[in-house]
């Protein structure tokens, strides 16, 4: 399944926005335009839906409460609303629509309360859930509005598919140093491991057969970027039993050197993390700036790598990617419909799909980078060098 449409109201710096989405979504925009905030909507739904340690109250609290979540420009209408449509495959009609709206209680301890939760099965046109309006129990017991039906297995039975999809959304912003120096840094890890500290354990948990198959696929694609790397393998340390990745690096000496992940380059590790994640799950994958610490020539290959991995994976994951990289967006095979451009205005950030003019210029031979990136460049950046201290 994939998200084909996302509509937001008063979410962080988006006062109002609505976009159509495809299997790959490149989110571009100037610094502080809200790229990470956009990804955070989906992490939020994941946090609401996840069976362990999740839930609506916690998801809001972890983000500093409603006042931190709500768009500063929201005046008359204090409600935050998220609406999502899911389809089985790209270019097919959506099958689910899930809407979640919430606001502060307005009295007492100011708990966040659900002001609308609606689930529609678009195949049958049936509304499976619409609360609190059509729900007597909600009216008689307002406590119930502190929770969503999405987070409860008793109440999400009819739309379990949707709950599972949200619960298995993955966010990855692998920080190679955290992985390399894991032992020195100690065991503290954030929930859901957004920075890839537990990446090796995740690999360790897969069955040997799956793991081998995935590493072979990854090695093949990695060859483009790290041509002298061979035999990428998973291995446990003989003494400590800790999981490790190792590979042979061929060099001018006849016997190639064996290296462990802590000797891999930062870029190699990030790529490994991205590719593994693409092969691993079946839900949405959120990636922040995959171009970091990579050579430009390799960044140019990222789109192709993602495309190949999506093809080779058992379940094709939808992927959202935030990026600033010109080299990445120079790839002429990127469909302009895959790009969402964020444009900050005085009235909140707008999320824009490619315009007809963008598409016509791209058809004439311009790349996404040439067509869309100059638009996200802050107007004063040329003058940046002229600051007078």
């Amino acid at each position: 399944m994939l998200i084909t449409r996302l509509k937001l109201k008063n979410w962080r710096n988006f006062k109002k926005m609505e976009v159509n989405l495809r299997e790959r979504v490149y989110v571009i925009g100037p610094n502080a335009s809200g790229k990470s905030n956009l990804l955070d909507v989906l992490r939020f739904l994941r946090d609401v839906a996840k069976p362990e340690g999740g839930g609506f109250q916690k998801a809001v609290k972890d983000r500093g409460g409603i006042t931190k979540l709500r768009c500063l420009l929201a005046r008359k209408d204090p409600e935050i609303c998220i609406e999502i449509e899911l389809a089985e495959r790209v270019d097919t009609d959506p099958i689910w629509r899930y809407t979640l709206a919430f606001k502060n209680e307005g009295k007492g301890s100011q708990r966040p309360l659900v002001s609308q939760e609606k689930v529609e099965d678009l195949r049958t046109g049936k509304v499976l859930l619409n609360r609190p309006d059509n729900n007597k129990e909600d009216k008689s017991d307002p406590e119930r509005l502190t929770q969503t039906h999405l987070e409860q297995i008793n109440t999400n039975r009819e739309f379990r598919e949707v709950a599972d999809f949200f619960a298995s959304v993955t966010y990855l912003h692998l920080v190679p140093q955290l992985l390399k120096h894991a032992e020195v840094l100690g065991g503290y890890r954030m929930e859901d491991d957004p920075f890839g500290q537990a990446f090796l354990e995740r690999i360790a948990k897969t069955t040997e057969k799956t793991r081998g198959a995935r590493l072979t696929k990854i090695e093949k694609v990695l060859q483009v970027c790290v041509p002298n790397m061979r035999k990428l393998e998973f291995k446990r340390d003989d003494i400590t039993n800790k999981p490790h990745l190792q590979a042979l690096y061929e060099h001018w000496r006849p016997d190639a050197g064996l290296q462990r992940e802590d000797q891999f380059s930062d870029g190699t590790l990030r790529l490994l993390g991205i590719m593994w994640s693409l092969l691993e799950g079946n839900s949405l994958l959120l990636l922040e700036e995959p171009e970091l610490s990579l050579n430009e020539d390799i960044v140019r290959q990222i789109h192709k790598m993602i495309w190949q991995m999506q093809r080779h994976a058992k379940y094709r994951r939808q992927i959202f990617i935030t990026t600033h990289s010109e080299a990445l967006l120079q790839d002429k095979s990127i469909d302009p419909r895959e790009v969402i451009r964020l444009e900050p205005t005085k009235d909140g950030t707008n999320a824009l799909e490619s315009s007809e003019e963008d598409k016509a210029l791209i058809a004439a031979g311009y790349s996404i980078a040439e067509t869309l990136l100059p638009k996200v460049k802050p107007a004063q950046v040329d003058q940046l060098s002229l600051f007078e201290p």
């Binding site: 003019e357 016509a360 210029l361 004439a364 031979g365 311009y366 040439e370 040329d382 003058q383 060098s385």
Partner: protein
């Protein structure tokens, strides 16, 4: 008359600043909606077929330096640009956009803090106007101009760290195009052509 949207394709930030200024002083209402900074004139040449095709969607204004081509016609022939669609205006600065800046002799002398007499009389005849300009900056009465515009002694860098930024600032605020066009014929032609560009669709 309604405004006409334009894509501007140039080599570098300084050419962009000059193009913006030309549009501002022109008799027409053009709005730059898209910018392409190609990085150099070989890249502009490589992109020309794209410009031709895309100009049907959005009119293109391309400004390039003549550099080492013997004359503008030689450049056009080499670029296969003798026949261009009417929505694509290609203008050539002889030999570099810096010559257009030097052509406002009073303005540039004042900006660089050098005597007007040191500014060349015929800037389009300068073989390397960028170097001429940098050498003038080195002789500036104000040390800051010299260190910002010229590369450090012994460095083989072509320009100083704030070269583009400072000159762009000059172009925007002080460069007198009317004065400059009297001694820079390629600038004069560029303005004339810009004034009639996209008039008869």
């Amino acid at each position: 008359m309604t405004a006409c949207n334009l894509l501007v394709a140039v080599e570098d930030p300084l050419s962009l600043a000059a193009t913006r200024k030309l549009i501002r002083v022109s008799e027409r209402e053009f709005v730059i909606t898209r910018i392409m900074e190609a990085g150099g004139n070989t890249q502009l040449k490589a992109n020309l077929s794209k410009f031709k095709a895309a100009s049907y969607t959005l009119p293109h204004l391309v400004l390039t330096d003549l550099d080492s081509y013997p004359c503008p016609l030689a450049l056009l022939e080499n670029w296969d640009a003798t026949m261009l669609p009417p929505q694509l205006l290609l203008r050539i600065a002889v030999r570099e956009v810096e010559a257009w800046l030097l052509a406002d002799r009073e303005g540039i002398a004042d900006f660089l803090s050098v005597a007007k007499i040191k500014i060349p009389q015929n800037p389009e005849a300068e073989p390397d106007p960028k170097r001429t300009l940098i050498n003038l900056a080195r002789k500036s009465r104000r040390r800051r101009i010299a260190i910002e515009l010229a590369p450090e002694a012994g460095s083989s860098a072509r320009i100083g760290p704030l070269y583009n930024a400072r000159l762009a600032e000059f172009v925007e605020n002080a460069w007198n195009v009317e004065r400059a066009r009297t001694v820079a014929p390629s600038l004069d032609r560029a303005l004339l052509r810009l004034n009639s560009f996209m008039l008869n669709p």
